[in-house]
Structure formats: C-alpha cells, structure tokens
C-alpha cells in the first residue's frame, strides 16, 4: 500500500515538474508611446478627465485601444505591444482630425500631435473677495466659421490639482454655470468677455479652480483654462 502511494506521489511529482515547462515565447507589451497634444495657439492643449484620448488601431487587429490624455496635455502608455499603429487624437474640443498617422511603436516612441482648439481662454484672472471668487476671461475662437454652438461656460472647483469635468465639486462648479446656447459668430465682444462668480467658498480651505467652455460638438467637449490655486483665508 505504501509502495503504491509512493508511486502515485512520484507520478504526480513528475507530472507537476514536467507541466508548464513550455515558455510563452511572445514578446510582452514592452513598447511605450508618449507625447504632447500641442495647441496651434501655443502650449499644450489643456484637457481634463474624459476628454482627449489618443486612439490607437494596431494594424492587423480589429479593436482599437485608447490612451487618455493627462490634464497638462501629455499622454503616455508604457504597456503596448511593439507594432505599427494607426493613431489619431480624438474626443477633445478641437477641430476634428480625420487622417490617421501610422506610427511604428517600439521602445520609448514619442510623437506629438498638433490640434486647433475650438476656443482659447485668454486674459484669465481670478479675484477673491471674502468667500466669493470671481473669474474673468475672454473667449477667442482661432477659427470662427462653422464652430459648434457654445452650450455653456462654467467654473470647475476642486480641492486637488486634478480639477475639470468629472473632477469638481458640483455645488461650486455645475451650479455656477452660465448657459450660452449661441453661435460664436452671433456673439458680441461683450458676450465674449465672461465673468463667473463662485459664492460661499469655505473659509480656511485651498481650492483649485479653472474655467471651461462647453461646445455642442460630437463629444459635448470643453476647452479649459489653466488651473489656479485659491487660498480662502480663515
């Protein structure tokens, strides 16, 4: 009986050792792809969560994948398979690009995209009076003709530097939106000088604030201002 058990054990041991010896000989996802989304009006395109993504279509494969951009307009994915990809930036508030670029992605591949934003926020200032924050700025469209309707303009307020659509405190942000629903070409210069007011900020707290202009394009996407830090005194 003991002998039998020993034989069985030995058999199991041999099987355990001999199994799983075949090594996966495919290369791992060791390629990386990074770069900037540059605004034609200077600097990187300022983005937010759920806005600009880089869409990659591996040649010879059916389903596309995406790299979300960071808030500063950069993007990076360090776990891609080495291959040629058709790439295109999509989903943000810029004039759509229809022509994909073929990029051979290997180790540390870099590529920058240049896009033309729908709207640029200029002369952005913030003034704190008591607990009321006032944001003033002008909106300028690099290309006015055919611009999607401007839906609304709103502040985004958060307690971290990650502030934007989907990362903001509703009671300070969405509720202080102003509705526009106008064509850019129908707006007067006075209409394009925007003032946003955020009342009742909490004393003794630090907030990070920016403004966004939302357009009625395919994505209902927004152009953003830079992010400013606001320290509300006690």
């Amino acid at each position: 009986m003991k002998k039998l058990i020993n034989i069985i054990l030995a058999g199991v041991a041999i099987m355990a050792i001999s199994a799983c010896t075949k090594i996966d000989n495919y290369a791992g996802p060791d390629a990386s792809f990074q770069g900037n989304i540059i605004s034609s009006e200077g600097g990187n395109l300022l983005t937010s969560g759920g806005s600009v993504t880089i869409k990659l279509q591996q040649i010879g494969w059916t389903t596309p994948q995406t790299i979300p951009s960071k808030f500063d307009g950069t993007f990076e994915d360090s776990k891609l398979f080495q291959s040629s990809y058709k790439v295109i930036p999509t989903g943000g508030a810029f004039w759509p690009i229809y022509d994909t670029v073929v990029v051979k992605i290997g180790k540390d591949t870099r590529h920058d995209f240049t896009v033309t934003p729908y709207i640029v926020i200029k002369n952005f200032t913030s003034t704190l009076t008591g607990t009321t924050l006032t944001l003033k700025f002008n909106i300028v469209a690099p290309i006015a003709a055919g611009l999607p309707t401007i839906k609304d303009i709103q502040p985004y307020v958060n307690t971290t530097k990650l502030v934007g659509a989907g990362a903001s405190i509703r009671d300070f942000s969405d509720v202080n939106a102003i509705t526009i629903n106008k064509e850019y070409t129908d707006m007067s210069d006075a209409d394009k000088a925007i003032t946003l007011t955020i009342p009742n900020l909490i004393k003794g707290r630090t907030f990070f604030v920016r403004a966004g202009v939302r357009l009625s394009d395919s994505y209902n996407s927004s152009n953003f201002s830079e992010i400013v830090q606001v320290d509300v005194p006690k």
């Binding site: 389903t63 395919s218 994505y219 209902n220």
Partner: protein
C-alpha cells in the same frame, strides 16, 4: 476440450456481435426533432414558432437594457426594476447613471437563422400544410424577422441583412457578411412587414401576430427611420461609418418614412379601439393594462407560473409593505409627474400649502396620472401609501428657502427606521422616503401602471405575476399616427388622434396642437412602457435632455405643531446624475462579433 470451449466462446461472441450490431445504425436521431416532424402538421410548425416568439426582443417587464441583461425569458429574472425608465428621468432606480447606453451586445442572428429556416422550408410543404396555412405562417415569419431586425437597426443602424440560412461549410468569405446601409436595413424591415400584412389573417391566437400587428409595428419602425433621417442628419457624430451610410439616412428621405408610418397606422382604423369599458376614468385606465380581451391589445406577450415564465412586476414595483416578499426600486420622478403641470403644493407667497391629510394632494388630478403613479395617501390591497420623509416640529418660511439650506441646517427630524418616534408620532412613513437603502421610494411616488391590485398580498411574490405585457396597443398607434401626421403638416389629423387619447385619459381636449404637445402626450400615455428611451434617441434630444441631469422628488412632511402635512419638491434622495453622450445614439457593434467578422468594421462613430 479447452480448445473447443474457447472456440465456442469465440464463435458465440462473433455471431452475437454480428447479429446485434450493424442493425441499422443509420436511423434518424431520436433526440432531436427533424424537419419532417415539424413540417408535417401545423402543430409542428407552431412548436418551432414558439421558440422564435419566446426569444423575440420584446422589451417587456423582464427586459433588462444594460450589459448584465438583455431579453429575459427565465423564471429567475425577477429584478424588473432594472429598466429603461430609471435611466431617462421617468423613474429613478438601481442604475447609478446612464448605464444602459451601450446595450447588452444584442446580436440575434441565431434566432434570425431559425426564421430563415422556416421561410426556406415552408414553401416545400404545401402538400401537407395546404397553401393558405403556408401563406399565413410565412406572413408570420416575415413579421418575426422584421421584429428581430428592428431591434438591431434601432441599436446599430445598418447591419448585415441575411435572408437565407447560411451553410456553416461555406467559405469564410461568404460567412463574413458586410454591413448593409442603415437605409437599406429600414427598407428591408418595411418590406418584411408589408409581406406580413399581406399574408397574415385578420385575427390570431393571443400572443401571436396577425396582419394588424405587422401594420402596427411598421408604424413604429417607420417613425424611427423617419426621425433618423430628419433629426439624425442635424445632430450626429461624424465618422467613417456615417460617410459610408452605415449609420444615418439622408434628410430628404424623412417625408417618405413619415408617410409610411402614417399609412401603416391608418390601416388599423376601425379595427381596434381604445379600452373604454369602465366609466370611472381612473379605474378604466388601470384596467386597460390588466383586463384580457381589451379591444386595444394588438400584440401581447403572455406569462405562466406553471411554465416558469411568470414575471415579478407586482412584487418589485410596490414596496414590501404591500407584498409578500422582495423589494421595490422603481420610483417615478417629480419631473415625470409634473408633465401634467406642477402639483399645487405651494401657496402664492411661496410657503408650503398645508394639507389635512396626504390623500388631498390627489384632488383634481388627471385620472390617467393617478392610474399611472401611486401618490402619497393612495390605497392598494387595503393599505395606504404612507409616504412621509420626516417631521418638522414647526415650519415657517418658504419651501424654496428651506430646500436650498444645507441638510444639517434644516430643522426637520428624520429617522433611520419606522420604529423611531417623535412625541409618540412615527417619523418616517412605512413606505419611505428614506436614504438608508434602496428599497423604499426616493421620490415620494411608486409605479401603478400594470400593478395587479386584485392580487391578495400573500400571493404577491417573485415570479408570480402573469398579467400579459401589451407590446403593441392601439393607444401607441394613435400616437404614432399623430406624430407622423404632425411631421407631415396634417395637424387636423394629429389633433383628432391625440384628443381620442386625452378623452380616454380623462383630460381636457386640445383645441390646437403642435409637435411638442404630441410628444408630451406620448410621454404621458406610454410612460414606463419602454418607449421614451427610444423616443429620446430617435428625436435626437437625449443629449440635451440628459445633459448632467438630476431628477426631483416630492417629499411629504408632517408639521407637528400644526397637525398638518406639507410637500416640498427636492432632489431625489440619491441625487444621481445622468448624461447621455452623442455617440450613444448608436450602440457600438459588439466587440466579440467584430472579432469573428472584421467585415463589420468600420464600427459606429466613436466606438
């Protein structure tokens, strides 16, 4: 001797084996039903049809529109509150947001293959089935095929039109079919329904289609196609699929489809009528969804406890207080209720109106509204809907000022359960609203439509509801007709149809009409019937209506020192947000299908 023994054994094995084996192994399989059995009698074909009907994408009580769901046919599909209504502002419910927009990867080519087999086989069996029977069954098959294709066209736009059973042994290039254009898909659906109308008889068994079901479905489908052409050419997401016509229809085609919708709806003129059996307008509207043999029912789906197909509407639309088991999670919003106009809960100076009892709120409301939604103070199975959010020891000031306060600076008293008392008075009602869980109302309302009030409480359990789902009813057809007529500029015809609906509802008749009124009437009449989601999609208004949308409820409070009730309009208690992205007007082609058939590319814009 031994040798002889062995010889005998060997011989008997050989003889025995050769006698018993090879006995006609080539017999028809005994465990599957073969075509000659099915097509030898009408009963045989009926049994085959049953499967096709069972899987039909009827968006009924059990239909669950998100990735975890789909067309439900079993007895464990009891969570009837996972519905479209709770993502689009008719109700709030279990979904945390717009969770249904990517669908559930519906791709019913297996079912379509069954119909295709039927359509190919039936003409070969005229001798046994007779020509009239074959024609009627073929008409039914065309109706069913259109039904399946409609369910895909409204989700994906253009899809591969496959009309014959594919041979699995055919080369891959033939099996990997390309998508057809969206317009071709809708034209195919129209042609199929025309065949159904032409070939089917005037009447049918309950649960099966007749020629008018085909016409009714055609009015629904053509209205969808017309709106895709008219509104989809204004509000769209650009992409390769669109430039190829796989999604989208040229705007100049809209009139043709509106006319087709109108003509199809008109075919039912005089054949069906609105349910008007009871002179009590509220009771009449309640019974419309519960009484069998209603002249309004065109096509229904039936359920049976014995066959394990019963649904759970009664046990999941009302809270546990009225049932023997389970929980509710479907709560009509104040936004929906106020389609009928704001409820008179506030005085002209902005202070909340004082009510002696909560049932007073229902006075003067339209019967249809009262029959669609259970209000605070309404009764069911001998019990009262006891909605009370909390108690104010005293209340002064306006409702608006009170609601605008931060919750911790409001002077109300709330409680986590019904046992907590304030000076001997129960603080929250037995039926909510409360935030401790999701099983009591968050809006102050419950669903009444389709709820079987006659069922004794002990019998209201999961998988114990058998009232049929009315998939096509004449009320919808009148509204289809009115909308198509309005779009075609025939407002007189639209006015007549809408006023028929309003008369039955107990509402005052309109003296003039516009498109907004037609659409609003549709929302009110077809609420919770899984229509409005598709209406929002075809009108291309979903991204506007559901743009970071929050919905409201009506919170009843007891004012202790006055011994009165007040109602205040407040955000629903979870205050969830709903946003419909423009790409959602079409769902993406399911990824697993693209994996099998790359010819389905390009995918719909933005997927």
């Amino acid at each position: 001797m031994k040798i002889i023994h062995k010889l005998v054994i060997a011989l008997s094995i050989t003889v025995g084996a050769s006698v018993t084996s090879c006995q006609r192994l080539d017999i028809p399989p005994t465990n599957i039903v073969t075509p000659d059995i099915i097509y030898s009698s009408e009963a045989g074909v009926k049994s085959f049809l049953a499967t096709i009907y069972q899987n039909l994408p009827i968006e009924d009580f059990k239909f669950r529109p998100d990735a975890g769901g789909g067309i439900r046919t079993g007895s464990n599909d009891w969570e009837n509150f996972y519905n479209e209504a709770s993502c689009i502002g008719e109700e709030v419910g279990p979904f945390g947001g717009m969770d249904i927009a990517n669908g559930f990867g519906y791709w019913p080519y297996g079912d379509i293959r069954n119909v295709n087999i039927l359509i190919t086989e039936l003409p070969k069996h005229v001798a046994t089935l007779t020509q009239p029977t074959v024609d009627a069954l073929l008409g039914e098959a065309h109706f069913l095929r259109a039904y399946y294709y409609f369910a895909m066209a409204k989700r994906y736009g253009g899809i591969p039109i496959i009309t014959t059973p594919q041979d699995p042994a055919a080369p891959l290039s033939q099996l990997q079919v390309h998508r057809d254009k969206e317009q071709a898909t809708w034209d195919f659906i129209a042609a199929e329904l025309d065949l159904g109308y032409k070939m089917m008889p005037e009447t049918s068994d309950a649960g099966r289609a007749n020629k008018y079901a085909a016409a009714a479905l055609k009015s629904r489908a053509m209205l969808y196609a017309a709106c895709v052409a008219k509104y989809g050419s204004v509000n769209f997401v650009d992409g390769q699929a669109r430039s190829l016509g796989l999604v989208g229809i040229p705007a100049d085609q809209a009139t043709k489809y509106f006319q087709a919708a109108y003509d199809a709806a008109k075919l039912l003129d005089g054949k069906y009528s609105l349910y008007n059996a009871n002179s009590d307008k509220v009771q009449n509207y309640v019974d419309l969804f519960l009484k069998s043999g209603s002249p309004e029912n065109i096509f229904i789906k039936q359920y049976s406890i014995a066959n394990h197909t019963a649904h759970s509407w009664d046990a999941t639309m009302s809270p546990r207080y009225f049932t023997a088991n389970a929980l509710s999670r479907s709560y009509p919003t104040y936004d929906f209720v106020s389609l009928w106009g704001d409820l008179q809960v506030t005085n002209s100076d902005g202070t909340p109106k004082r009510f002696d009892n909560r049932a007073q709120l229902q006075q003067g409301l339209e019967p249809r509204l009262l029959a669609t939604v259970y209000f605070p103070g309404a009764t069911l199975r001998g019990l009262t809907f006891d909605m009370q959010r909390g108690i104010y020891p005293s209340f002064s000031g306006t409702a608006a000022a009170e609601v605008a306060k931060q919750p911790n600076s409001r002077s109300y008293i709330l409680a986590g359960d019904t046992k907590t008392l304030y000076n001997g008075k129960q603080i929250i009602g037995f039926t909510g609203p409360w935030t401790g869980g999701d099983e009591l109302t968050r809006t102050g309302f419950y669903v009444r439509k389709y709820v079987d009030y006659n069922k004794p409480q002990a019998a209201v359990d999961l998988n114990r509801s058998e009232q049929p789902w009315i998939d096509l009813r004449y009320g919808e057809i009148l509204l289809n007709r009115a909308e198509a007529a309005m779009e075609l500029g025939n407002s007189a015809d639209a006015l007549t149809s809408v006023n028929l609906i309003r008369a039955r509802a107990g509402a005052t008749a309109y003296s003039f009409i516009d498109l907004d009124k037609v659409r609003k009437e549709r929302r009110m009449e077809l609420a919770f019937e899984n229509q409005y989601y598709w209406d929002l999609k075809r009108w291309r208004t979903a991204d506007v209506v559901l743009d970071r949308a929050h919905f409201k409820g009506l919170m009843p409070y007891y004012v202790f020192n006055e011994n009165k009730y007040i109602f205040m309009v407040e955000p629903e208690l979870f205050n969830r947000e709903y946003t419909f992205q423009k790409q959602f007007y079409y769902e993406g082609i399911p990824g697993d299908q693209i994996g099998k058939n790359p010819n389905l590319l390009p995918n719909n814009p933005n997927y």
